[in-house]
């Protein structure tokens, strides 16, 4: 019998630092959206306040949590050690300072501040990317999960480079200015869709079987999932530079097909599960796939309408970007955190006690009763705000966003209560 490798799990403080900062950013972003939501409703999407909130959600919330989770999950999924945990802490401090500065300088729109804190953000991301790539270099057997995570990191790298170019264009101007909009849409497509989706796809192939005890499923569908999705991203980005709506439609169709194939593959794995009733958070993380499928199918319809009628669909595209960020990315993260946070705290507090005294199970550490209130409230709020942006309805927006603020506070309460367990 071959002997197992020893555990490569890192300490829990580093992932926790990122994840808890992410949750605080999430709450703050929801409050700011409630205050500045008028910008969205009046069709002013590219205002300093909206840029600030968008970056707080995408970097402060989703990216910070994703990076924290990766410090925990990369050793688990790929059987490698994180190259340098110390660098991870350096990155964390840089990211927090940069995030605060970047958010404030967007609000007051200080070009000098944007350059300064934008450069700090880039430095933080580059440290993360270097640390991850050096860690992944030790992977001995590549599979689709590795390829997807690697491709997501590549998407993040390109997003950062484009972000730097865009800040340069805003502050200095001139540099390939004719492509400003194409570069902006590429930055959004890679940063919002590609980096997060490929990361969720890749780690789902580890976490779904692990949390459901699924065995005997095939992995061959992951290949068309990856190539269809990446082809969709590539063609959509091409369409921005050629200003071609038909090309954008082809890209959206492929993107949507990628999501549908992924949903089908996860369903096949789900059917092979041994754990008949998986935990609440995990079930909602899986329900987020429906959000991704829904948003991508609606994108095809909206672009189809745009191509056939030549009318502006900017409100619809903002509504779909929002649905994508909340209904797919955020719901996935919120659901998986229901597993990750108790695991990290349990490891910190109880891992040395197991076998000596009775210790709680992971399920007992999260309040599923409150979770059963939070998740439906979050989904309802997301749907209300998406519809309000689509229809430009202030009543729906403030109802939905008010519910978002309350549910975000409840989520913070649930997660921070773990520390009392």
């Amino acid at each position: 019998m071959p002997t197992a490798l020893t555990s490569k799990a890192p300490g829990v403080k580093l992932p926790f630092s990122f994840i808890l900062t992410g949750i605080l950013s999430f709450v703050l972003a929801q409050v700011l959206l409630l205050i500045y939501g008028n910008d969205l409703l009046s069709g002013h999407f590219r205002t300093p306040a909206m840029w600030a909130v968008a970056h707080l959600l995408l970097i402060g919330w989703a990216s910070m949590v994703s990076m924290g989770a990766m410090y925990q999950l990369v050793p688990v999924a790929f059987q490698v050690r994180i190259r340098s945990e110390g660098l991870g802490y350096v990155q964390f401090i840089i990211m927090v300072i940069a995030l605060l500065g970047f958010t404030i300088t967007f609000f007051i729109f200080s070009p000098a501040g944007l350059v300064l804190f934008g450069s700090l953000l880039v430095a933080g991301f580059l440290i993360f990317l270097g640390n991850m790539l050096l860690s992944l270099r030790a992977v001995t057997s590549w599979n689709m999960m590795t390829v997807m995570v690697f491709a997501s990191l590549l998407s993040l790298t390109l997003t950062i480079i484009l972000g730097l170019i865009l800040v340069g264009q805003l502050t200095v101007g001139g540099f390939i200015g004719q492509y400003h909009l194409a570069l902006l849409y590429t930055h959004i497509t890679l940063g919002l869709i590609s980096w997060f989706s490929l990361l969720i796809f890749g780690f789902s192939y580890k976490m779904v079987p692990m949390f459901t005890l699924a065995h005997g499923y095939a992995m061959d569908i992951s290949l068309p999932v990856f190539f269809t999705f990446v082809a969709g991203i590539f063609i959509m980005i091409s369409s921005y530079f050629f200003s071609s709506s038909p090309l954008m439609l082809i890209g959206a169709v492929l993107l949507s097909l990628g999501f549908i194939l992924f949903a089908y593959h996860v369903w096949l794995i789900w059917k092979k599960r041994m754990k008949r009733h998986p935990d609440l958070g995990f079930k909602y993380a899986l329900s987020a796939i429906a959000g991704g499928v829904g948003a991508s199918v609606l994108l095809v319809i909206v672009i189809g309408i745009s191509v056939s009628s030549s009318r502006s669909v900017s409100s619809e595209l903002v509504a779909l970007s929002y649905l994508f960020l909340m209904g797919w990315i955020s719901l996935s993260i919120l659901g998986y955190l229901f597993k990750i946070i108790p695991f990290l705290w349990w490891t910190y507090k109880y891992s040395n006690q197991i076998g000596k005294v009775n210790v709680p199970t992971l399920k007992e550490m999260m309040d599923e009763r409150l979770g059963a209130l939070f998740f439906p409230a979050f989904i309802l709020a997301t749907l209300l705000v998406t519809i309000s942006l689509w229809l430009k309805s202030a009543t729906l927006f403030y109802t939905g966003q008010g519910l978002h603020v309350l549910s975000a506070l409840l989520y913070a309460w649930i997660t921070f209560s773990v520390f009392k367990k």
């Binding site: 019998m1 071959p2 197992a4 059987q79 005997g216 041994m274 008949r276 891992s351 197991i354 992971l362």
Partner: protein, 100 residues
């Protein structure tokens, strides 16, 4: 089966996988138990390679067995072959997972 081995199994049934809430013995993670003059060798696996609870579960097994007066030394041999699969679970474990 010796009386000591019975006691070892009883102790192993006190060690729960914190994710599943099922003890490691009924989960089928224990492949072999060797006991001689107080020295115990446990050959075991985990449900998935790279399981994040790797250290917790193996040290949990060690702690539980060290509670026995008859045990002076515990060695854990963690293996991945044969790979764990659901058929290794006891009927009790399957019932706890919702498969009546």
């Amino acid at each position: 089966m010796s009386a000591v081995k019975d006691k070892i199994i009883e102790q192993l049934k006190q060690v729960l996988d914190p994710e599943l809430g099922i003890n490691v013995y009924d989960l089928g993670l224990i492949y072999d138990i060797q006991e001689k003059n107080g020295k115990v060798m446990i050959t075991m696996t985990l449900t998935t390679p790279g399981c994040p609870l790797h250290d917790s579960i193996t040290s949990g097994v060690r702690h539980a067995l060290q509670k026995l007066d008859e045990v002076s030394e515990v060695d854990i041999n963690l293996v991945w072959e044969p790979a764990w699969n659901p058929s290794m679970m006891s009927p009790e474990a399957k019932a706890l997972l919702g498969w009546e």
